[in-house]
């Protein structure tokens, strides 16, 4: 027993020493000098200091690749094609790749170290992603649990995004959160307002970002955001639309409705908004104002647990129950969903059962 414990101790110590040695060797010996990164067949050429991970190196050069785990190799979002110079794919990457991606030289950019010249390929829209310095110009409680955060962009002063897309908000280090973290928030404001954005943020139990945003963030604070990201946006078609939101999931749908009003897109559309009780409803006046500008828009708020004082006479139950009651045949519709992930699963099931093909149901897959 004692021998076994001593053996394990020796192995542990050896492993620790080796890890230290490797780190030290990397710090002392790993001078990779300048490296060139050619992006999309020379569309952009970068000269960078080698040695860093591709994700961070590109970020330092103002090219943002989506990431949800801060480069820890656990979200699988930071995929780019490394056509030359990336070396063999690592075991930390393969769990996130299918055979086709491996054949196409797709890599996790947070795992690839820049050791030599690289040729990479990234989707065109990544070039639109920028980092913005902004300032908080308004903080407004919308419900007991949800706040509207209004930001004015400073540098660069304007953003171009598709309504429905999201940004990553940087929460700075604070006591209890020793390093800056990024979280995704959908843009609620119209795309036409280029120098400001509004976010709608729900407080989450023990949440690192939302605790900061709900209890520490103040008007006048400088903040950093980057984006836009995501492929949740209005598709061009004439189909009738069903829009379903719960809680702060209303945010991207508000931006889409603003787009419909501004661009005079008068498709038939029904917005279902599910919350627990009347106190959880928000943006009611804004929705009424939009309904006046979009003649084809109907609005159905649904309360799952109305309080007696709510004297509620509208739809009750889960928002998905209301959808099931109201829609007979969804086969010619298009659906836009945002909110509680459990609601999304239930809504997809109901809409498919009503004949809507899954490729016409849109939502942020990663959420």
């Amino acid at each position: 027993m004692v021998q076994l414990a001593l053996g394990l101790l020796a192995i542990s110590t050896l492993a620790a020493l080796l890890a230290l040695l490797l780190e030290a060797a990397h710090a002392v010996l790993a001078d990779y000098g300048e490296c060139r990164i050619s992006i999309n067949e020379g569309q952009k050429e970068l000269t960078v200091q080698g040695g860093g991970k591709l994700l961070g190196t590109l970020m330092d050069q103002g090219i943002f690749i989506p990431s949800a785990c801060g480069g820890r190799g656990s979200c699988g979002l930071c995929k780019v094609k490394v056509l030359e110079g990336g070396g063999p794919i690592l075991p930390t990457e393969t769990p996130y790749m299918d055979e086709k991606e491996i054949a196409e030289q797709v890599r996790l950019s947070c795992q690839v170290r820049v050791r030599n010249d690289l040729a990479i390929h990234i989707p065109e829209e990544f070039f639109l992603i920028k980092e913005y310095a902004a300032v908080v110009v308004g903080l407004r409680p919308l419900t007991p649990n949800i706040k509207e955060v209004h930001l004015k962009l400073v540098d660069p002063p304007e953003i171009t995004f598709k309504p429905g897309q999201f940004i990553q908000f940087q929460v700075p280090a604070y006591p209890g959160c020793p390093e800056p973290i990024y979280r995704a928030y959908s843009i609620a404001s119209p795309a036409g307002l280029k120098n400001e954005i509004k976010l709608v943020i729900t407080r989450v139990e023990r949440g690192l970002a939302t605790t900061y945003i709900h209890t520490m963030l103040k008007e006048g604070d400088p903040v950093r955001v980057n984006g836009p990201y995501g492929d949740f946006y209005l598709r061009h078609s004439e189909r009738e639309m069903v829009l379903i939101a719960t809680g702060s999931g209303l945010a991207p749908l508000m931006s889409i409705l603003h787009q419909m009003a501004d661009e005079k897109i008068n498709r038939r559309a029904t917005l279902y908004f599910g919350v627990r009780c009347k106190a959880d409803l928000f943006y009611q006046e804004e929705i009424q104002a939009l309904a006046e500008r979009i003649p084809g828009l109907s609005y159905i708020p649904v309360l799952s647990a109305p309080a007696p004082e709510d004297a509620w006479e509208g739809e009750t139950g889960y928002v998905t129950d209301a959808v099931a009651r109201q829609i007979e045949d969804a086969s010619n519709m298009e659906a836009y969903l945002c909110g509680n992930p459990l609601m999304i699963n239930a809504a997809v099931e109901i809409l498919v059962s009503k004949g809507l093909p899954e490729d016409r149901i849109f939502y942020d897959k990663f959420a």
Partner: protein, 167 residues
């Protein structure tokens, strides 16, 4: 699936450092001065003494979580004994052990109807138990003391659980 018992290693030191210094707001080891290995060992012992395995506890919590999901955020009564409710935020978070995989940001509350006893956990808590035998520090908001969990959920010794091979 995890391998138990867990031994001290440089990897575990790193995990402990992450649990303590990073992301303190999550409070994984809040108010608990014991070393991680000691917390893991003592909880492992409590589970063994009850004739159970970590995966049996995780399985039970997962079944209750699945039942709560049917309520889409509203309370649901399960087996006429428990009231469970789940909140599910958008987004997923990585495990502080640092391996691939992301876990939904959920918050489940359970109340035992006859005694009023309460428990709370998240999807990450279930993963912690199943893969790392980790029930969190004494003052953690999501501490799931094995004896308390086994008592409240009425878990019985499970001889049928597969024996876990030694590391």
């Amino acid at each position: 699936m995890g391998r138990f018992p867990v031994y001290q290693s440089p990897d575990l030191d790193e995990v402990e450092q992450r649990l303590r210094s990073g992301l303190q707001y999550h409070g994984y080891l809040e108010g608990d001065p014991r070393a991680l290995i000691q917390i893991l060992t003592e909880d492992e012992k409590a589970v063994k003494e009850a004739g159970l395995f970590h995966d049996a506890i995780a399985r039970r919590l997962r079944r209750l979580t699945d039942a709560a999901k049917k309520g889409l955020g509203d309370p649901v009564v399960v087996e006429e004994r428990f009231r469970v409710r789940i909140e599910a935020a958008r987004g997923k978070l990585p495990c502080p052990w640092g391996h691939p995989g992301l876990y939904p940001k959920t918050h489940v509350e359970l109340e035992r109807l006859d005694t009023g006893e309460r428990l709370q956990w998240t999807d990450l808590s279930i993963h912690f138990i199943e893969a790392h035998g980790f029930y969190q520090g004494a003052q953690s908001p999501y501490r799931l003391d094995p004896k308390k969990v086994i008592g409240i959920l009425g878990l019985q010794p499970e001889a049928s659980s597969p024996p876990i091979p030694p590391p």
